[in-house]
Symmetry: C4
């Protein structure tokens, strides 16, 4: 019977790791194609120093590219940590994961807009657009956390309910911050963008800790 149980678990893990591999692929591609918007507009009869300053003038595009790259990389780490707590998948989690992937893929669109309009008169509109997409991404993560609720029975038995509660609070907190960032961006584009940038510093720390905590639980799980 223990063997039966193990088999079922393996079956469950098989589905989970398949979904993880697919999601990893989408994260990796979404992150890489961001660079396709980093292109110099054609310049005629330019001098070497003229070309170098044209390259430097693209700094808003570099910044937006770096911000979105870091955002997707950190979301990937957090996705992994969260998937590591899951034992089996159901319809709601599948849907929530699809929603997260959809937003991850979509991020290249507002990134291109910030790169193009950050230094022009429409800067506030550009950052507002970016903030709204980040807010929707955060919304998708909130649905994901609902799908992971301990009472829904998808978690590995060694995962403490308190850990999920902490992550849910953080994800809900993130949603509030991005809401503020969207409002703030209509007042001052740089303030709004600064708040979003500060947030991924926070998520970077969460990502690192979550990985460590997850490893601890996995060890427990295999030792138990």
């Amino acid at each position: 019977m223990t063997v039966g149980r193990n088999m079922q678990d393996q079956g469950g893990r098989g589905e989970t790791s398949r979904l993880e591999a697919f999601s990893d692929g989408v994260f990796a591609i979404a992150l890489t194609i961001l660079v396709l918007d980093l292109r110099l507009p054609p310049v005629e009869n330019v001098t070497p120093s003229g070309l170098i300053s044209a390259v430097l003038d693209l700094w808003p595009s570099y910044f937006a590219f770096a911000l979105s790259f870091a955002t997707i990389l950190i979301m990937w780490i957090n996705h992994h940590a969260r998937m590591g707590l899951i034992q089996r998948i159901d319809g709601l989690l599948m849907f929530a994961n699809g929603l997260v992937l959809f937003m991850v893929v979509t991020l290249s669109f507002p990134t291109a807009i910030v790169g193009e309009y950050l230094t022009g008169p429409a800067a506030k509109g550009a950052v507002f657009t970016y903030a709204v997409f980040v807010l929707a991404t955060s919304g998708a993560w909130n649905v994901f956390m609902v799908a992971m609720k301990p009472e829904r029975g998808l978690l590995r038995p060694t995962v403490p309910a308190s850990a999920i509660a902490t992550t849910r609070r953080r994800v809900a907190f993130g949603f509030t911050v991005y809401l503020v960032a969207a409002g703030l961006s209509l007042v001052n584009a740089y303030l709004g963008l600064g708040l979003i940038t500060a947030m991924w510093g926070f998520w970077g720390v969460v990502a690192y800790r979550a990985l460590n905590e997850h490893r601890a639980w996995s060890t427990e799980a295999t030792e138990a």
Copy 2:
């Protein structure tokens, strides 16, 4: 001799999972590059609110992007469920799988057309084009189901013939619906697009059920 049988099976599964991994990669990339057609046409001296309304005006592109994203994601889930029933691959299945991947990859082309022309005078032509590509995709899936016929001997022994028959009927039904959608789109673009959109709600439910059924058979298979 049992070991010999198992080895052969493993060999077969090795080929199958290799094809699955490759197909997964194509699905993931096809789904991600859809976003590359979501780009704002350059606007000069625009105000923040002008930029935001330019972003909102792109809604047909968002809709077409979301529709094709969901379509490919659901086809991926169904592809997985169907591949999970297969024990070994032959030439016809390889060919049918290649045809399905070809249509999956191609979907970004009519998606861009719907995004561009849905609100203009050529809307009917745009949705008709989209419907024809979806119809061809459905055709590829019908060939795939022929290759999976129980009498062709590729299925795992635990898979009931009735399950395949049900899936074949659904896939044939889908073809008819897309044929109607193509005709309907020449009368009214929104009706045609609405029918296609409704169909992926149906496939989403099929995908979820198929996954569950497949898991049950796998368990049987490992228990037998």
Copy 3:
């Protein structure tokens, strides 16, 4: 000692499958991004039937896309079959594999040219360009086959030398055919393109047979 030998073999297989996974990724991406050149040039105030005929007028692009898609898909199958015969990797094989991947990735460039110029006055130049790239790809495969020579000691012990000799002859034959196709395309674009298209029918058959032969050897290998 047998165990030591097996470990070494596994180590070798580990490197091989890592290279295979990476190569698979490149094949999958190269094949998918072909669709990015399938885009309708913007048309203003077009009618539904005008849009549909604009879509139909793109047929050279569809043909070139389908040809290159099939080419890469079949090369992927053949790549797999050939890698399956290999036990360990050395520098020359690594280099030859890199060269093959380079040509696979590059194929989207002449594909776009054929799509654009096949029906215009420069058709012969477009098909000639395509043929030269296919010829270079065939050259890379010839280097790959040199790296796989039995006397170089990379093959699995169960692989008969005759099988390698057959594949080498076919790959060398392909090079000659593409050379003829390049010359022919300067006389008549459609004849040149027809010969290249006919060749991938040949490779499709080779791919299917190679897969079957490989499976047979694997079984031998595990049984031995």
Copy 4:
């Protein structure tokens, strides 16, 4: 207790191979999308020979494409060899790896610039830009090597400290060479580009040796 130790090791290896698979994906995509900048500008009413010379005139783009393709392929091999020495991941290594991936992805941007401007009056500016990006990539690798320092405890116990020291010296040497190349490119574009090209010949040799050395250590590790 040995079993416990082994489990922990496996857990560590699990994280490592997950990071490796993700990184492999990014390398493969970054390398493939380089081809998207290899496009012929539209030409009207061109003759076959006119089209062929337009294709030949793109040689700076081919050269830049081939250089960056080889650069990323060789970095992938070196990345693999270095990851093979690692037993577990910590925050600094994760960050350093993210930085390396960021620079790998970014490389397509200066590649497009060299392709566009190498034969024009701004050639020095184009190669200088390329050299600066390669220099930053080298900087990321230097951080990576700091994260791999033996005293940080991430290495497999069988890896000799001298091997890491050698790699660190080479990576630091590379940084100096790219610094010289950046300076040189402001004097003569072709000299700067020639030095960068020569360097990847060096890295190619390192990559090949590193793979061999790594295989030796792995064997030791499994034999110990």
